[in-house]
């Protein structure tokens, strides 16, 4: 474990004083935009540790579910209970890595500095964070000139800079080359090993098999299946998941 990844003693003390935000319970979550129902009664229980993969065809509501869980969108109906509490302020204790990283128009290092400063973290951690994601040699370069894989690693470093207890990843490796995918998976796995709860949206079967402890399969705005990865991949219970895994079109 690198120095940068290790939470400071002060941070540990603060975390210890706060009520735990895990496990997560989602009850009858509905999200509507006008007449369109995007999520239709999602219920879900996630434990305190591990990596949950959210899978499902396009339009099944995966990304919106992440945004709801992260507090960026409010549900039309239903409850999200973090640590058993409905009204807990959790966004600051979580991080979300978007499919297309939003990088500031600054240098690579300044992107990390910005988050460390905004969140009152120790700015001396910046170099170690960049080293952790393999971008130390690009610290002074403009962030928006990074390649897709590098940009996503910077987004990950920025997310890790906030010391999240839960990290959401919304298809962070979409359209990346295999080496970049593996580099990102290594960073995410390392975070999981340190106790960060990972909730990961992907369409990549190989990635899901490599990373998942459990899989939530969404279909038509509902949880069609939630199983341990060891059961989901060899023997999915629902027909839509079976079709999806077999490469047949699922609508």
């Amino acid at each position: 474990m690198s120095d940068a990844m290790a939470m400071t003693a002060a941070t540990d003390a603060v975390v210890a004083q706060r009520p735990p935000i895990l496990p997560l319970a989602v009850r009858d979550l509905v999200l509507r935009f006008g007449d369109v129902t995007v999520l239709d009664g999602v219920s879900l229980d996630l434990g305190a540790s591990g990596c949950t993969m959210i899978m499902g065809p396009n339009g099944s509501g995966k990304s919106l579910l992440l945004k709801l869980l992260h507090g960026l969108t409010q549900p039309t109906e239903g409850q999200i209970l973090w640590g058993g509490h409905a009204a807990m302020e959790v966004t600051a204790r979580q991080a979300l890595v978007f499919q297309k990283p939003v990088l500031l128009r600054r240098s690579v290092a300044a992107n990390i500095d910005f988050v460390l400063k905004a969140r009152g973290k120790d700015r001396a951690r910046r170099d170690a964070l960049l080293d952790h994601v393999g971008l130390a040699h690009k610290a002074g370069q403009p962030a928006r000139l990074l390649s897709g894989g590098e940009a996503q690693r910077l987004a990950l470093a920025r997310a890790l800079a906030t010391d999240p207890e839960v990290m959401f990843l919304d298809e962070p490796t979409a359209s990346l080359d295999p080496a970049s995918v593996l580099a990102i998976e290594r960073i995410v796995s390392d975070a999981r090993d340190r106790g960060v709860r990972i909730i990961f949206v992907t369409h990549d079967m190989g990635q899901a098999r490599r990373m998942a402890d459990d899989v939530v399969f969404l279909h038509r705005g509902r949880v069609a299946e939630h199983s341990p990865a060891t059961e989901f991949f060899p023997e999915p219970r629902c027909a839509a998941a079976r079709d999806y895994l077999n490469g047949r079109i699922v609508v």
């Binding site: 960026l72 966004t91 991080a95 500031l104 128009r105 905004a118 969140r119 403009p142």
Partner: protein, 235 residues
């Protein structure tokens, strides 16, 4: 009445000779307009940023007013400032009428809405891109505004330039509140108007040439900064 050719050659000679009166007028013009631009940016940029990220009742009305104020007629601004600063006006006790300060006030009123309206558009576009990430990072409103202003700095330079261009080129407001007093409130535009009416085209043309050179120089400098920034993907 001189021919244009004679006037032009006299104007160039005047500029090259470093005429003290000419220099005084140019320096006062720059002092007044740069100060007004700086103050207008201090007021206009935060206002533009607040409106860009704010979602409040009456926002559309604010946008309409902001955009409408961009077209404020300089003579009307001059008249309003004159009414306030004249001896019988509410701010007459300050004794500012016919001073460079009065000219700075008038130009600030003239260009602050331009800076606010143009920066609002720039910052709103940037905020659309950053908003979700910033909400995820739980930034305060102040942190959001600071980040937007910094990341849009090169685009905002152009906004400042637009304000400066309007200030340095206007004549209606400064001639009313400044009075075009020699060695005190005479700036390039008011001097050009006066010298033209007197038939002294050489000085008018010399000042016009300098105005053009300043406009070109400032534009070139800003364009060069923006091109450098664009190469680094900072725009």
């Amino acid at each position: 009445m001189q021919s244009i050719g004679d006037a032009l050659s006299l104007a160039v000679a005047l500029v090259l000779s470093g005429d003290a009166d000419l220099l005084e007028i140019v320096l006062l013009s720059l002092r007044v307009s740069l100060t007004a631009t700086a103050i207008a940016c201090l007021i206009g940029l935060p206002v533009g940023a607040l409106v860009a990220i704010g979602r409040f009742r009456g926002r559309n009305a604010v946008l309409i007013v902001m955009n409408a104020l961009m077209g404020l007629p300089p003579v009307v601004v001059g008249l309003l400032v004159y009414l306030h600063l004249s001896r019988s006006g509410p701010l007459g006790f300050l004794g500012l009428l016919y001073t460079p300060t009065a000219m700075i006030i008038a130009q600030t009123i003239l260009i602050a809405p331009i800076v606010a309206a143009l920066s609002r558009q720039v910052l709103e576009d940037l905020h659309t891109e950053y908003a979700e990430q910033f909400r995820s990072l739980c930034l305060t409103r102040l942190q959001t505004i600071q980040a937007l202003l910094w990341d849009a700095r090169y685009s905002l330079l152009t906004v400042g330039l637009a304000g400066f261009g309007r200030a340095v080129a206007e004549v209606g407001a400064v001639i009313i509140v400044g009075g075009n007093i020699d060695h005190l409130t005479r700036v390039m535009t008011t001097a050009i108007a006066l010298e033209t009416s007197k038939g002294d085209l050489a000085l008018a043309l010399a000042l016009g040439l300098i105005l053009l050179v300043i406009a070109l120089g400032v534009n070139a400098a800003v364009q060069s900064v923006r091109m450098t920034a664009a190469r680094q993907a900072y725009v």
